[in-house]
Structures are given as C-alpha cells and as structure tokens.
Symmetry: C2
C-alpha cells in the first residue's frame, strides 16, 4: 500500500506543477494593453528582477558558507539537501514574482477591455495560482527527492516503503535521515528569511516614502504618476508581498511536514517498544496528507478558473475556492488516516507522549485541530482589523483627536488582540496533544498548511490587483478601471488578514514541534519523557535572552525600514523641489533613483538582523550549551507569537481605520480632513509592523529552531560552559 | 546574637519614622508664599485628597472581600497580615502624597524668596524624603509585626531568636508562617496595584488632555493657567508619580524581603538535612539587611539635608546621597553576612539548589549581584532615553520627517533596548544562583531594594519640583523662579530613569523567587529539585496564555488612558469655545470639571484590569490546576519584563527627543517648528506607556505570583481538570 501512497504524492506534485505551468503560459499570452501600460509594467518588472537578482547573489554567498559548514560538520547528504531546499524556495519565490509582474498589467487591461469584475478576477487569480501551486508543488517535490534519494540509503527507502524498517534503522537514523531533513528545512528557511526581510524592508521603505511626502505633504493621491516613489512602491509589492510571502509559506509548509517526520523518528528512537510499521506510517502520513491537500487545492483553484460566470461577490467566490480546498483535504484526510493506521497494534494507541488516544483517526483529528485553530485565529484577526467591527471603528473615532490618540488607540487594540488567538492556540495544542501526543502537535501544524496552495493563490492575487490599480492610475486610464481593481484589492486585504492567522498559528506549531525534536536530539535515548526545566537557572537565562530576541529583531527591522524610508523621503522631496514642472504633470519624475534607494536600503539593512538570527542560537549554544539554547527557543517562540499578533493586528487596524474614514464612516470627516491626516499617520506607523515585522517574526522562530536542530549534535558535545565545568 | 539583630532592625525603623515625622513638620512649618500660590496649591491638594479618598473607598471594599476569603480559606493570621499590609501600603502612599502637596508650593516659594538652587533643592528633597523613609519604615514595621506576633506562635519566635527552631516547626510552618507572610505581601500588592493603575490613568489622562489641546491646538505653554486641565495635571503628578510610586516600591520591597523568607522556609521543608540554625539565619538575614539599608539611607538623606551649602550640580548631589546610602548598605552587608553565617556547618555550603558556594559571604555577594544589576540596567535605560546619546538623537532627527517616523523610530528604540537589560538580568540570575542557590536569587531581589528609602526620596523629589514649576507658572511668578524649578525637574527625569531600572529588575527577581516558592508550595516535600517542565502541554498552554496577559493588561490600560484623555480633550475644547475671554486670560477656566473627569475616568477604568489580574491566576488555577498556573506565571513574567522595558524606554526616549528639539539640538528646528509638533506626538504616545503601563507591569507579575502563592494550597487540591480526570 505504501508504494501506492508515494505514487499518489508524486502524481499530485506533477499535476500541480503542470497546472502552474499552464496558468503561467495562459497569463503570458494575454494582451498588455496600451503602450504606456506596457512601459510602466516593464519598469516594475525590471525593478523587481534587478532586486531579486541582487538579493539572490547575496544569499548565495551566505548559503554557500552554510552549505560548506553543514557538509563539514553534519554530512554531505545534509549539505545537498540544504542546497535543494534553498533552490526550491528561491525558485518558487522567483517564479511567483515573475508571473505577478506579468499578471498585474494584464489584470488592468482585462478590466479596461471588458469592464467585468469576474473576468478580471480570473486573470488576477490565475496569476496568483501560479505562485500557490509552485509553493506547494516545489516544496513537496523537494521533500520527495530528499526523502527518497538522500535521506535514506537505497535499502532503507525500500524498507520504509515495505513497512519493514529494521532495528539497524535506529543507529543509522540520526546522522543520515533527520539531519538530512533538517538540512532541507534549513535551506528553505534561509531563503525565506532573506526574501521576507529584504522584501519587507524594500516594500515598506518605498511605501512609507511615497506616502509621507505624497499623501501628507504634497496631498496627491496614491499611485499618482507625479510621485517619484510610485514605481518603487509597486516593485515593493512584488518583492515583498509576492516573493517574500511565497518563500515564507513554502518554508512553513516544509517546516511543518518535516518536523512531523523528524519528531516521529525521534519518538521512535526514544521509545523502544515502538512498532516499525507504525513508525513507517507516521513518516509517510504528513507527506501523503500534503499530497491530498495539493490535489484538493487544484480542485479549489479550478472552481474559480473554470466557472463560466463568477458572481459579483468576489469575497464569497474566493471563500468558496478556499473552502473547497479545505473541505476536500479534510475529507481525504479522514479516509487516509483510517486506512493508514487502522491495522496498527492497539498498544501504541495508549502510550504516553506518543500514542494515539482515539485510534486510527488520531492524526487526522489532530490535523483538524490545527485547521480549526487557523480558521478561528483568522476570524479573530478579522474582528480586530476589519472596520465592520468596534476595535477599528474606535481607532477611526480617536483620529478626531489627532495622530497621538490614533497611534495610542491602535497600540492598545494590537495588545489586547493578543489574548484570544493565544487561547485558541493553547486549546489546539492541548487538544492535539491529548489526541496524538507530541506527534499530534506536529499534525496540527501541517494540517493548518495542508491547503497552502489555495491560501497562497488568494494571498498573491491581492498584490497583483494592487499593482493593477497602480498601473491603471499611472497610465491615466478611465476611473472605472481603477474601481474594479480597487474592489479586488480591498477583498485581498481581508483575505490577507485570515492568511496571517494561518501563518502565525502554523509557525507556532512548527516551532514547538521542532523544539521538541531539538530536545530529543540531545536527550539520552533511554529517556522517554521530555523535560525542559524552565526554573533551572541556565535555561531560565536562555528563556529571558530568547524572549528579548524577537524584540531586538523587530526593533532592528523597524529601524531599517525607517532609515530607508527617510532616504526615500529626502529624494522625493528633492525631486519635487528640483524638477521643474513635476507637480504640474508636465515632466516625468526620476523613478529609477527611488528604486535604487529602496533596493540598496533593503540589501544593506537586511544583513545584520538575518545573520544575527542565524548565529544567535549557534554562538550561545557553543558557549552555554544545549539547555540554554532550549530556553532561548521557548522564550523566543512565546514572545514572537505575541509580537507577531500585536504587529499584524495593530497594523491592519490602523490601515482599515484610515479606509473607514475615507469611506465616510466617521461623521463629518473624510479624505483630506484632519482626522484623515491623523489616520494616515497611524497607517504609516502600522505599515512596517504588519508587513515587515509581523511576517518576519514567523520565520525568525522557525529559523532559530531549525538552526539549533542542525547544530545541536555538535554543541551538545562541545561547549564552553561544560568544558570549564560551569554546568 | 539574633535578639540583638532584631533590636537593630526595630531601632532602624524607629529612627526612620521619627526622621520622616520631623521632616514632615519642618516642611509644614515653611511659608506658602503669595495668596495666589496658596490658592493653587490648595486646589491641587483638595483634588489629590478627593481622588485618594474615592480610590481607597473602592479598594477597601475589594480588600474586605479578599480579607474575608483569606480568613475562610487560609487562616485568621493571614487575613490580619493582609489587612496590616494593605494599611501600611495605603498609609505610606497617602502620607507621601500629602507631604508632596504641601512641599510643592513651598519649593516654589523658596525659589521665589531666595533664588538659590541649593536651598530650593533641600525643600524639595525634604518633602521627598518623607515618602522615602515612610515607604521603607512602614514596610519594615509591618514585617516585624507580622514576623513577631502573627507569623509564629509565641514559642516559635523565641525558638527562632535563640536559633533552636525544632523539627515541629516543619509541620506547623506552611499554614502559619509562609501563608501569613504571603498574606502580608498580598495586602501591599493590592494597594500598590490600585494606586499605580488608578494614579497612572489619572495622571496621564490629565496630562494628555492638557497637552493635546493646549500644546497642539491652542499652542499655549505647559502649565498655562488658561488651560482648564492644568490643575488636574498637577493633581495627577501627586496621585500617580508620588502615591503610586510609593505604594509600588513598598510592595516591591516587601515582596523581595518576604519572598526570601518564604523561600528559605520552603527550602528548609524540602531539604531535611538542613540545619535549623542555618534556617534561622536565612530567615533573619533579609530583615536585618533591610534594617542596615534603612540606617544607611538615613545617613545618605542627611547628607543633603544637613550639608550647609549644596553645589549647583544638583544631579551630582543627589547621586552622592544615593551612593552613600548604597555604599553604607553594601559595607554593612558584608559584615552582617560574615557574622551571621560564619559559624554555619560547612556541609550546607555545598548543597545543590540551596547551599552557599562561597561561604559566609554568599548571601551578601548575591545581594551585590542584584545591586550591580540594578545600577547597570539603570545606566542602560539612561543610554536609551537620554538625549546625550544616539538613540534619542535619532528619534529627534526623525521628527523632521513628521510624526509617523517619530513614532516608528521610538518603537524601534524601545524594542531594541530590551536585549541589554535582559542580558544583565540573566547574568545576575545566573551569578546569584551560582553563589547561593535559589535563596541567592531572592537575595539579589532585596539587595536591589535595600536602599529603597534613598531612591524613593530622589524619585519623589522629581514630581514635587514639577508641581512647583506648575505653581510658579500658574501664579504668574517671575520666570527666574520657573528656571530654578525646571532645573530640579530635569534632573528628576534622569534619576527617574535609573529608578525604573531598579523597579523592573527587582520585580523580575521578586517574581522569580515568589514563583519558586509557589512551585515548592505544592511539590511533595520529599522532592528536593524543583522542576517546571515547560514542554508539558498544560504548562505550555499556561505559559502562552500567561504571556498574553501583560499584553492584554497593557492594552487595557492604554485604552483606559486614551478614553479618559479623550473626554478631557472634549471638555477643554468646550471650555475654550464657550467661556468668553478665556484665551485672553480675562476669565478663569473651570478647573474642577477637569479634575472630576480625570478622577471619574481613573476610578471607572481601573477596576477591570486590576480585578482581572487578581482573578486570572485563581480562576485558571481552579479549572486547570497548579501546573497551568505555574506556566502562566513564567509566561507572564517573561513578557512583562520585556514590555516594561520597552514601554519605559520608548516613552522616555520620545519625551527627551522632544526636549532635545526644544533645547535646539536639531539644526533649524525648535519650539513651534513642525519637527517639534511631531516630537510632541511622540511624547504623547509615550506618556501612557512610560508612566502608566510600564510601572503597572512590575506590579502585575508580582500580584499574580503572590495571589497564586496564597491560593495554591487550595487549588492544588481542588481543581476541575483533576476532578474530571483530564490530567
């Protein structure tokens, strides 16, 4: 049976990638529209490509160093897996971004030609689906390659496929299998880190720069062609919200699947009574479940692309596509879970820390816990950030009293909004653990991400529509075109909030199961119950320092954005001052310098925080030993979750409070009023929080866990504190 | 010998209280100055008294309920100790505030009459010293009362005094001694919580309300008599920065001393080999050390009050007073430590978790770790918040680009500033633990606070000088008077930053040792090594929810301030609009309504966050059991430390960035420029963070630990999850 399962996964990957290629070609074939539209889109495309090329050059240097280190310290298999991970993640980000820069102008053109919302949505979504399918497809492809070829010697994969994993597996496992998988995860993480951080700095520096001078000082609308930073702003959407998001979610997806597999191996090694057939199924389940999810997403995506006439309610249509994907995944999961685990010895169902408490359905139920938590967290985020509800309305109301109270009220909302999602997470953790032990927590993580192809498609369609609007504005098209793209864009903002719920939730779960694997990795194999004693002083110190890490990291990112944005502001002001006839629309601004500023700023500022987050657990590990790092990981995970929720929700709420005022929600106020000005300040403050810091924090905790997991085999043996006898 | 030690402490208390009374009478005897000055000071005094009376009425209701509960569930001794704690804390806050409202106008008058900085400083510091001496004196008085009369039956105190505590001590201890001490700490905590939160909301609502309309809209200077909110603002300084601070530090001081005593008892109960003489010394050491500190502070305070001619360098003079207090304390401590522990059996010096690793000097060295950490954290705070250094200058520079970047840069600074203090804390924790085990961590906590009388005196002198300046402005005195008070005030701001370092540091240490006591309280007495396994799912869920608590609490406080401030803004705007001749200075504004708004706002808004923080650990304890609450405590402690540092430093930095611009630090900008307006926005955003949220967080973690410690004897036996068999 297990061979068949692997074939299903392979087929799913092939279908998904083929579908992505088909959609890519479809989009490319469409018309670009007027010459002016083509010019602008070309400028955005060139800017985005140039940045990614610079960035990948930087990453390839750092990546090479890490690959060599992994090769020397761990194994050649892990080094190659690392490279494969990096390539998969980089490729998904690059391709998704490329198609986004083709799709944007074609969306504008479709709106211009047809004036039809549904048809325009289809183009935008087709563009987005390329990214969605690539993310899941490439991730899974990499898993299969690593799983089949490098992870296990040829004999072992046969054993696994036949369910006859022998006892010699135990001895060869640590070096060859879990480490190779960790290497793969690390490769994905590194790219995700740089793409997210670099893209995040780029996009917000441009955005803030454009807004600070354009909206606040010169009082010209967003995307006005007279604003020198507009093209950079549009480039930013592509490198940050598309390439960054793609690599990020690919990494989460891979992290969730692999942490389940690694955890299963560790549990196996620490529980001798463990059934090898059971292990075999536990190793396969995440991969096959992901394969089912991928097929479900192909169906969900096809709903939108194939439906002859989409309704005017864009939000509903996108929701249906997501619900189909999720529903089919859950339905396939229950069948899969039953067939894979029904013949397992009932003894293991009862084992503490490991066992499945509710029989063959346990892993499926645990996954559903994750999916449920993701959805509820998304809904909570929507409550706190949508202007249909009280919190955002309060911020809009506070804008009447000036920018200070707008900011204050937004900070309060963000802080208050931390509690509910965390309670949901806690319930899901306790639930999934009660159902299937530690493995259950890992199941919840990959459950949340099992239909990632659909969520990424929806998430990517947002910035494509946003860009399409910008192109319409800059090309001086009829306002009716802009109206259509604005409608698409605003729906994109809401769906993005829900997507963030999944991103944070899955990051938390993945980090926890990676941390558990980390603990197992240096715990004696005879010990079955994991203990991380937080009142042990060294661990406590680690937890405190770890807890400060997300704050330090966030502060550095905010400062980086602010620094680049200030340069941008100066440049935009200079151009307004020095270029004659610019404000009258007679001459063109110098877009290129602004693109350069964002690009250079991002490349320069991303290095320190990225490298710091990679080095921190390693360096402290070699000085203070593995228990300190364990503290670091738990401390960082806890505060990163809080900060990510805080940043995401306060940023989102400020953004929508501004939109609420623009929509006339606050009596007597509107665009151009002093309350609106105050709300623009709030929005600008929130920009780096929600689009740079929040998403980067998700990666921070995963990269720290993955790095520690890879390095712990070394620093658990050699560390300064043990050497000098301090512990 | 031990009888002698207790006599020393008693004498120290008597000297300190007598000195406070003397200073109180001295200040009262001074002249108030002109009639107008008397009127204004009278209005401030009446406002402050009225608020405290309202507040204490509310607190007494809640306190009575708690006292009855403690009586029913724990013991009558604990209930009485609780009441004593509440009375001591309330009395210290009240008296300190009362003298502050007398001293303020006398400071103005001294400056007016003499024009001498040194003489004016003396009046202000004499006022402040009343609070400082009362805080330490009352706290210690209460400890002695509880310690001698209620904590132990008459026979036991004799045993302790004679160093012959018998084995029967072990069985009677838990109910009668540690619980009584916890009750006392709880009493102090409750008052501190309400005083800090209520005062914090009051003062910032008034301050923000006054600034938002006065400075930003009407462009009139601070403390201008035409601004209807000025009196309320001055009242706020007294109820928030004086009464709030006093009760807060009294609570920290008591918490630190008692947690050491309780921990010593717990260690004794869990380590049968423990020497009773050793226990006896461990119980006495914190109290005697505190007594030495109190005498040291009397000497330090006298330096300023008795020195015939103070130098013009106010900052230096205050530093000398603090250094004398600290130096004498440390010097007395080393003698004390040696004489108390030199004859202890060397076996206990080696015991794991308990023993003194460096002989008789161990508890002293651990205290010095705490003192050192407090000083370094203070210096770090100064670096991040003083405009002599880069971080604050950067914020001032960002103000040129408008309010959004000012806020953004300030957030970044606050976040980045979390790492260094936490590293210092971690080093101090590891150091004090390595020196004297868990008891060492408690020693570090009371070490930090041992010269609290001096730091509170210095901290209280700040708001007194601030008020004095306000009175000078409102009475239309010569600008030279204002110049003197401004100088005093600005020094007060710097010393406050250092004081905050001690407050956060000691709160962290006290919370940790209370948490350890909590863990011991429900751990089987045969277990010697404490374990709090954070990867156990229930504990992990607790840690997550606990970590969200400080965010929720902070958000609620910020929102409370914003809400009250908005009402104030509306009222001030109404008065400017409706009262004819107000802006021209011909008619007087209606100060009383503004005082009412602040007062009502604070009383209304303080209830929910305060009651929530008390109920949270109890309610979750009765549902999920003690391990969940243990998770809550560690999670809350970790994030509260981060948030407190973040709020304190970003708020302080914004404040000083504004002052830097006013002082002409940014080229081409100054009072009234657009950069200054932007910096005022930053300052206003920072106000509730640094003066309401930050200090309240320190209490939050201590009150949660204390409440849990009191309630755990009950909910460790009866809780829902255990009843239904979920754990």
């Amino acid at each position: 049976m297990d061979n068949l399962l692997l074939i299903i996964v392979g087929a799913a990957v092939i279908i998904a990638v083929a579908y992505a290629v088909f959609n890519y070609l479809c989009v490319r074939k469409m018309e670009e529209g007027t010459e002016r539209m083509g010019e602008i889109a070309g400028a955005v495309r060139i800017g985005a490509n140039a940045f990614i090329r610079y960035e990948y050059k930087l990453v390839s240097i750092i990546g090479s160093v890490i690959a060599v280190l992994v090769f020397i310290v761990i194994s050649w298999q892990a080094a190659i897996a690392f490279v494969i991970g990096a390539v998969m993640s980089a490729a998904a980000g690059f391709l998704g971004m490329k198609i986004a820069t083709y799709a944007n102008v074609r969306v504008t053109n479709k709106a211009r030609e047809t004036g039809d919302l549904g048809k325009t949505l289809k183009v935008a979504f087709r563009g987005g689906s390329v990214m969605g399918l690539c993310v899941a497809g490439f991730a899974l492809l990499g898993v299969i390659i690593v799983y089949c070829i490098f992870g296990l010697a040829a004999g072992q994969i046969k054993d696994i496929a036949e369910g006859t994993v022998g006892k010699n597996f135990i001895t060869t496992l640590p070096a060859s299998f879990t480490m190779t998988l960790s290497g793969y995860a690390l490769g994905c993480s590194i790219i995700a880190m740089f793409n997210r951080v670099g893209g995040g700095i780029y996009t917000k520096a441009a955005d803030m720069g454009a807004d600070l001078v354009g909206k606040t000082e010169a009082h010209i609308p967003e995307d006005d062609p007279r604003n020198p930073a507009t093209i950079a702003d549009n480039v930013g959407d592509n490198v940050g919200d598309v390439a960054g998001l793609g690599s990020d979610l690919l990494e989460s997806y891979v992290g969730a699947i692999l942490s389940a597999i690694i955890l299963a191996c560790e549990l196996f090694m620490h529980n001798a009574f463990f059934d090898t057939v059971f292990l075999n199924r536990m190793l396969l389940f995440p991969v096959v479940f992901a394969g089912c999810g991928l097929i479900a997403c192909v169906i969900g995506i096809s709903y939108i692309l194939l439906k002859p006439r989409l309704s005017e309610n864009v939000h509903m249509e996108l929701n249906i596509a997501t619900w189909i994907s999720a529903g089919v995944t859950v339905a396939a999961g229950v069948v899969l879970s039953y067939f894979m685990f029904r013949d397992i010895d009932s003894a293991v169902f009862k084992a503490e820390n490991v066992g499945f408490k509710v029989g063959a359905f346990s892993p499926w139920l645990a996954s559903v816990c994750g999916i449920g938590a993701g959805i509820i967290i998304g809904i909570i985020s929507e409550y706190y950030t949508s202007y249909d509800y009280k919190p955002t309305k309060k911020i809009a109301g506070a804008s009447k009293e000036g920018p200070a109270l707008t900011v204050t009220q937004g900070l309060a909302t963000g802080m208050i909004s931390c509690m509910l999602p965390v309670v949901v997470l806690a319930v899901a953790i306790f639930g999934s653990y009660s159902i299937a032990g530690m493995y259950g927590i890992a199941c919840a993580a990959f459950g949340m991400l099992s239909f990632v192809a659909a969520t990424v498609s929806v998430d990517t369609y947002g910035p494509i529509s946003d860009n399409a609007g910008g192109i319409a504005e800059m090309s001086g098209l009829d306002p009716s075109v802009r109206e259509i793209t604005d409608k698409l864009d605003s729906v994109g903002n809401t769906t993005a909030a829900i997507g963030k719920g999944f991103a944070i939730g899955s990051a938390a779960f993945a980090a926890l199961s990676l941390m558990t694997s980390y603990l197992y990795a240096f715990t004696d194999q005879t010990v079955t119950e994991l203990i991380l004693n937080i009142v042990q002083p060294l661990t406590l110190c680690g937890a405190l320092c770890g807890a400060a890490m997300p704050f330090l990291f966030s502060g550095m990112l905010i400062e980086a954005v602010a620094k680049a944005a200030r340069k941008m502001v100066e440049e935009v002001r200079r151009q307004f001052r020095e270029i004659d006839g610019l404000m009258e629309g007679e001459t063109m601004p110098d877009y290129k310098t602004c693109i350069e500023i964002s690009s250079q700023g991002a490349l320069k500022e991303m290095r320190v925080p990225c490298i710091m987050s990679i080095l921190f657990p390693i360096v402290t590990g070699f000085i203070f030993g593995p228990m300190f790092v364990a503290g670091v990981l738990i401390g960082a995970t806890v505060t990163a979750i809080m900060l990510a929720i805080f940043c995401g929700n306060s940023g989102g709420a400020w953004d929508n409070a501004k939109k609420y005022i623009e929509a006339g929600g606050v009596e007597g106020e509107g665009k151009g009023s002093s309350a609106h000005d105050a709300s623009v300040v709030g929005d600008t403050v929130g920009d780096p929080l929600k689009d740079t810091v929040g998403p980067s924090l998700d990666i921070l905790i995963k990269i720290m866990s993955t790095v520690s997991l890879v390095a712990v085999v070394v620093f658990s043996k050699y560390n300064l504190f043990e050497l000098v006898g301090l512990i």
